[in-house]
Symmetry: C2
Subunit: 426 residues, 2 copies
């Protein structure tokens, strides 16, 4: 196992070795925040790129190219000498031996930051997991894009009207931001772009359905923004939104609902739940029901002050005792806090509890339409949409990706186009 150490991190006796697991929003920020600090940092990820997840649905709906929301992690090494990158999938973490085990090697650490993120939560519904589409990584997104476009290609020559309608029925489950953005974007893809691509198809056969088990959309936002979203989706985007509707099962052809109803659909996108990655189960510490590690207010693992957990992998509460949501701003603020805490530990200073400052949240519904909740402000419509665009361009990493996304957005907006309508390599 020692073979794996070659050239990756310093020999004993040098600076403390900080291992950061995951190059998502949290992990990447921890690594970067430790630049020019007296530590050696090894960042571990199973991908060689950082993925900008908030725009993943736009890859799934043919607006953006996968590479535009992916940023090569090794770019960050060019200007940070104390940073190393190790490609590898974490198999387990041995807290007592202070060692991370990947498929290829064992990586010892002095400090560990677990920022492994989340994965789709199917709540044990194996048939939905098998036949439905999750939306958590680039493979998911391109699978959805290929599948949706293929349904239209098939429908063109399908003589059976019932089969054709099933091919052209797209069910999205989950009324949170991902579900809403996916539903709005698929609906626009179909009505504004594919209508021109398939002049012989009857678009009355097309149906986009959004299912939400609760009584309203966007539960994390004020009620009036959920209501505004509902109206916009129904009116402008012709999305059939069904509230109080739970999914019981899906066999790839028929969605069975909790109320006994059913929908014939060849496509089901599951945006109804996220849980922490399952490798956290190897830690042997307390987890919440989403698999998140229950951490101290300092984000340390109880009994292991040298181990921090952040982002979707961590369960921690705000000052009013509410669990923090699984969202990028939480991960990024925690990352900055933890980078500081590691330096404090090295310097022998006491740690402070993490306090989350809610920067607000937003969701886009479609062209010229979004909702945003920032502090006491509740915005909707065009202003919220422009804010959404600006915030997302700003948060993207890398000038080339920002420029490329801007061009593709302008393209879609001006020409009612989607440039990446490719049924890609299998």
């Amino acid at each position: 196992m020692q073979e794996g150490r070659i050239g990756v991190y310093p020999e004993k006796g040098q600076s403390p070795h900080v291992v950061v697991l995951g190059a998502g929003f949290g992990g990447l920020r921890v690594a970067r925040s430790l630049a020019r600090r007296p530590v050696e940092v090894t960042l571990v990820d199973r991908k060689n790129y950082h993925l900008f997840q908030p725009l993943l649905y736009q890859v799934a709906t043919a607006t953006l190219s996968p590479d535009e929301i992916a940023y090569p992690v090794r770019n960050t090494l060019h200007n940070q000498q104390n940073l190393h990158f190790q490609l590898g999938e974490v198999q387990s973490i041995d807290l007592n031996a202070r060692t991370v085990i990947t498929r290829e090697m064992a990586i010892p650490y002095d400090f560990l930051v677990v920022a492994l993120g989340g994965q789709t939560n199917y709540f044990g519904m194996e048939d939905v997991e098998r036949h439905g589409f999750g939306l958590k990584d680039l493979a998911d997104a391109t699978r959805i894009r290929n599948h949706v476009l293929s349904q239209f290609e098939k429908a063109v020559t399908e003589p059976d009207p019932e089969k054709r309608r099933a091919m052209l029925t797209f069910v999205i489950v989950g009324g949170g931001p991902t579900g809403i953005e996916s539903a709005g974007s698929i609906s626009e893809l179909i009505r504004l772009v594919l209508r021109k691509d398939y002049p012989t198809l009857d678009f009355d056969d097309v149906c986009v359905i959004l299912l939400e088990r609760d009584h309203r959309l966007l539960l994390a936002m004020p009620e009036e923004l959920g209501q505004a979203t509902l109206e916009a989706l129904r009116r402008k985007h012709v999305v059939d939104v069904r509230l109080n509707t739970a999914v019981e099962s899906y066999d790839g052809h028929v969605v069975r609902l909790g109320d006994g109803g059913q929908i014939r659909a060849e496509t089901l996108i599951w945006a109804a739940g996220v849980r922490a990655v399952s490798v956290l189960d190897t830690l042997g510490v307390e987890q919440d029901r989403s698999g998140r590690v229950v951490v101290e207010p300092t984000l340390q693992v109880p009994g292991h002050p040298e181990v921090f957990v952040i982002g979707d992998a961590a369960f921690c509460k705000d000052e009013e005792g509410r669990p923090l949501p699984m969202m990028a701003p939480v991960a990024m603020q925690q990352a900055s806090h933890v980078a500081g805490s590691i330096i404090r530990l090295i310097e022998g200073r006491p740690l402070e509890a993490f306090r989350y400052k809610d920067p607000g949240s937003m969701a886009t519904i479609g062209r010229n339409q979004a909702v945003a909740h920032i502090g006491r402000w509740k915005l909707r419509g065009f202003i919220a949409w422009v804010m959404w665009l600006a915030v997302h361009i700003y948060q993207l990493i890398g000038f080339r990706n920002r420029l490329a996304v801007l061009i593709d957005w302008a393209w879609s907006y001006i020409f009612y186009e989607r440039a990446v309508r490719l049924i890609g390599p299998p």
Copy 2:
């Protein structure tokens, strides 16, 4: 089988039905040239996009994103009412029944244009086909990109120096334009970009080898341009070019050469041959040893005046009796000719023989370096390189793709970067 006809092409008694197989350079141009002509056109391809093959090697070497050289075929339908598109893989062609058989349907035709292109020719070397990489479609290109980048990730932690060198040895076979451009681009990727990504690797271990079985490079160009290319590759791009060297076998680890030598290499890219697609064998007509259909001077299939074959699928000779090369300009000129011939047949006018006007050829070696042979002009260096850039940008289809490619080229050129250094979804 008749089910497949719904909405795709006209009922009997209407305009003649022209079926075009393949949406490459030839097929797409035939289809477009028949706009506003008294025919209904069905374009059939197994992909839903037109691929700009001359830049495929830049996808393989992380400069361009796959979507930048792919253009959705259905875009061409927006402005051409007599054009229909059918996604499907041609299984066979029944010349007597005047029917094309795809996996899903039978498509009858009045006129047929076969523009199915070529595929990698391994000359029966099954081990090379299994363990080496071809470079004919987007899947090939992304496989090469993922593989090359993965070799560097593996080499970082490989303690055995001999294994590490094999991981970092990249063999390209074939001294034609594709082989030269791939070798030059991989070499630049490594020396200019990956060197920054892998600060702990010893780049003396890296080796790019170009093998050519003939005595010189770029056989289709004048000797002095081949010689200039050889010198540029050896001197500026540190490519180990070996002439008069044939490959005997490759097991994924060791390349055995015709002269008894061998090279340990985990990567072999096969750019040494193209043959016509094998579905042409179902025609039951005369083919050359590359599988190309031997056509009349009018590009018609002997005995079947309603069937034309063009591009890499056709074997035809120039005025001096030399076979035309398997290159895009040939396919495109033949396409224009055939579109005219179909109208002539409909109008009862006699056909003319196809005459190829050689627009010249060019190949890029790397930054600021290319060779070009245009008429009596033999160009090299910076001027040829600028011409190469201009010609390729001009030939790309779609403004968005042109802009995106320009940006990525500028990015690479100015910052010594490759934006798409992603080990993509498996």
